[in-house]
Point group: C2
Chain length 330, copies 2
């Protein structure tokens, strides 16, 4: 196996989040599926934005959040995703590079704007997401840089990539490059509705291409169409090398063949906004893994990062993650 330049390369939708507080009644009135990520078109995005309260714009995107987290911890990260050459594209590009991530995917210049995710945060800290994919639909295999993927210890993909039409071709190309270079392939299932939309393809991926699987309880139960967490756990054990299953306030379960770890959640004073919790868990876990840490420690680091991100508004770190980790792990 040749030398690596990056710990993790992520492929995902390049999105700017627009966060606003909203009441549950607002979600009901406008038929927004609470807690889910729904794909919307430009017209619907404009309509919903017009109804939402005053917002905050922050770079987002599931895999992008994860890679940004890894870089903030000191890991070497690269990201592949498609923005437009517009103001929000500039914001996305600036923010991911500012934390040290290598991001060189060519921006679109065809006028389809950079993707945005309209996020309503309800008083219970739950986030409800409406995504206008914009320029993300133009991501294709031509955007996958062989050298970057070949030089990364782990290739990380978000399940949301199955929503735009050509991104899965990018995935397949990247997974082949990674396999040939002897790298590991990681997948996040992203969202239970996303699993519903693409179950057969995801099962094939998990069985045949994925070494490391990230899923929360709803997602893994949806994948195997079971009602019980333990039933899903038994299924997944046989199907990929490592599975890291998150369970909100119940912490996470990490399985790798015979090895099973049940890791408690970090205690926090107040959950402000759950946006980015899963992305941050994956960041901490993969940072630990690429640093050669034990699986239990990887899960512990994931839990620390998730706790940090849900203590404030938005999906990317406000605090110095290296310092947070050093404090919590001492």
């Amino acid at each position: 196996m040749s030398d690596t330049k990056f710990d993790v390369v992520g492929i995902g939708n390049a999105i700017v989040d627009v966060l606003a507080h909203a009441e549950d009644a607002f979600l009901e009135e406008h038929g927004l599926a609470k807690g889910a990520m729904t794909i919307i078109d430009a017209e619907t995005a404009e309509k919903i934005y017009g109804l939402m309260g005053s917002g905050v714009e922050v770079s987002g995107g599931s895999a992008a959040n994860t890679i940004a987290g890894i870089a903030s911890l000191g890991g070497a990260g690269a990201f592949i995703g498609k923005v437009c050459k517009d103001q929000l594209g500039d914001v996305f590009t600036h923010d991911i590079r500012a934390v040290g991530v290598s991001f060189e995917t060519k921006a679109d210049e065809n006028g389809v704007p950079t993707a945005r995710c309209l996020i309503c945060v309800t008083p219970d800290a739950e986030r409800t997401m409406q995504t206008f994919l914009g320029a993300c639909v133009d991501l294709g295999p031509e955007d996958v840089d062989d050298q970057v993927v070949g030089a990364s210890k782990v290739l990380y993909l978000e399940g949301y990539l199955w929503d735009p039409p050509r991104a899965k071709e990018a995935f397949i190309k990247a997974a082949k490059i990674a396999a040939e270079a002897g790298r590991q392939v990681a997948l996040s299932l992203s969202d239970p509705f996303c699993v519903d939309r693409h179950r057969e393809e995801f099962l094939d991926l998990v069985n045949n291409h994925v070494n490391i699987l990230f899923a929360n309880e709803d997602e893994i139960k949806s994948l195997y169409q079971v009602d019980d967490f333990d039933a899903a756990l038994q299924y997944v054990r046989g199907h990929c090398d490592i599975a890291a299953l998150t369970r909100s306030s119940q912490g996470s379960v990490v399985v790798a063949g015979e090895e099973v770890h049940v890791i408690d959640a970090e205690k926090i004073d107040k959950v402000v906004d759950t946006t980015g919790a899963g992305d941050s868990y994956a960041a901490g876990f993969l940072y630990g893994l690429t640093q050669g840490r034990e699986l239990a420690t990887c899960g512990h680091i994931g839990g620390i990062l998730a706790a940090e991100i849900i203590s404030h508004y938005g999906a990317r770190a406000e605090n110095d993650l290296k310092a947070v980790l050093a404090e919590k792990m001492k």
Copy 2:
């Protein structure tokens, strides 16, 4: 005096803030004047943005923040300011309308982008601002709607309006309309360096046009070129009907002829980011004033709003200001 439709109409620079954490060493290394607002050109803005860390975009602008605060409290507000027809202009327009402010100034379509203020927040919660005025330089008297200004109890202006070339013409037109309609004119001095740049004009305004003056300690001392707060206080007493002078952790002093109130600051657990403190004080004060409250109460409401805004990141309210005020005033 005819009926009013608005409590306060503000005229100011229409700006989107880009906030990022920074160390003091970063300010020193790049020669940024700590705590001040510096005007920069497009090229410098691009350079500084490239050096800054990952950011958060939030609608800003001094007078715009104040009017948004008044509207969030339930007051009727209108705003006049210039954005470009671009993504950040859409964000600014959405956010100010979302809190109920009437904002109908025609957006530029000449390609000069919407203004942005690059704000570095240091660990001591102080903000250092670099402003690229962009489309704001196109604000002129033609943008002042006679009917809106004539129908507002108070015309509120930010001192920063003296930086773009034609905005002062807009101010003069608006002040005349307000005077003819028997309305009050309020001015915020904005920033001690801004006072330095425009001292003679500001003195003329305070002496001849302004009924209500907002200034912090540094600004009022700069205006009268004195080293002592009390000396400045004695000067200002003779020159405008009401002066509300803010002193950070020492609260505020409100003077109106013989009437003088010294109001303690609200106690808060932790100052996170001082961006918007003065704007929020003015919002609370003017909300109280236009509701017919006593001057001491106006100062108290101003202090409550300032304390709320410095407890979180960004210059606009995250919490329900009506509820905050109801809780604090009970």
